[in-house]
């Protein structure tokens, strides 16, 4: 049976490098996080005192360390996409990227454990509900992304590597912007 009998196979033969859907996915992620972060900013404007008091219970040092961890993971992900990387180098870089991703998760959960004790105080308004929603949504992306990085390390086809590393950098980019907006502004 030739490729015309299988539309997907035929499409793959025509063009294996088109990244249109990848960028649609990237923009859907950015739109979702953008809406959450704008919501966080707006409620912060409405409840300035509650947000200021609640923010004093956050730990910007741990968040800063996590920024460093995620950027290190992004560096490893970038190493995996080099055209000249050998299969072994590609796999090693993807596994390293995933491990730094899991380190981010461990640090964030440690941070949550300290914040969970004070989060129920009504004096903090809606801060902690939104904080856990926004950062938790991001954390789920990190967990899922790190697992997919491990799967792709097992099957490192160039298309798979390009897709997951692009999304991984977007998760990184979201955290870079989320950090000052949630912890400082």
């Amino acid at each position: 049976m030739d490729a015309r009998s299988y539309p997907i196979a035929a499409a793959a033969e025509e063009d294996t490098t088109d990244t249109l859907l990848l960028w649609v996915l990237v923009w859907s992620e950015l739109a979702a996080f953008g809406i959450l972060l704008v919501g966080f900013l707006v409620v912060g404007l409405i409840q300035p005192d509650a947000f200021a008091v609640a923010r004093s219970h956050l730990d910007p040092l741990l968040a800063g360390i996590n920024t460093l961890v995620l950027l290190t993971s992004g560096w490893q992900a970038a190493l995996a996409t080099r055209p000249r990387a050998s299969l072994g180098q590609r796999r090693r870089a993807l596994v390293n990227a995933a491990l730094f991703g899991f380190a981010f998760v461990a640090i964030k959960l440690f941070e949550y454990s300290a914040e969970a004790g004070v989060a129920g105080d009504p004096a903090f308004g809606s801060f902690f509900e939104l904080y856990f929603l926004v950062t938790g949504f991001h954390l789920l992306h990190v967990v899922f992304g790190a697992l997919v990085l491990l799967i792709v390390a097992w099957r490192p086809a160039p298309g798979n590597v390009a897709l997951i590393t692009t999304l991984w950098h977007v998760i990184d980019l979201v955290w870079i912007v989320m950090f000052p907006l949630v912890y400082l502004v």
């Binding site: 960028w23 980019l173 912007v177």
Partner: protein, 92 residues
């Protein structure tokens, strides 16, 4: 997909790490003043740009794709800056 070699990627990571560590030091020394927050918001745009161009390899991508991605951090940082200004106005 990046077009950088391992040494260039390591240098990019060093730059990003230096920005993060200096940001943390600035926060520890000066505290979350308006000027410090404005500087850190500016650095967030710089970091986003470096990640997009060097790690994601968008430096040679079509300008629409590159600008499309870089607008996102810039827009949110501008909104955050507007919130800072509005908060200051509303509190006075």
């Amino acid at each position: 997909m990046t077009d950088r070699n391992p040494k260039q990627l390591f240098n990019t990571w060093l730059v990003l790490a230096a920005i993060v560590i200096s940001s943390m030091a600035l926060m520890a020394v000066a505290g979350p003043t308006v000027i410090v927050i404005a500087v850190l918001l500016g650095l967030a745009i710089v970091k986003s740009r470096v990640v997009a161009l060097d790690f994601m390899g968008l430096s040679h991508a079509p300008s629409a794709l590159r600008l499309g991605l870089l607008i996102w951090p810039a827009a949110l940082v501008l909104l955050a800056a507007a919130k800072l200004v509005l908060s200051a106005v509303l509190l006075t």
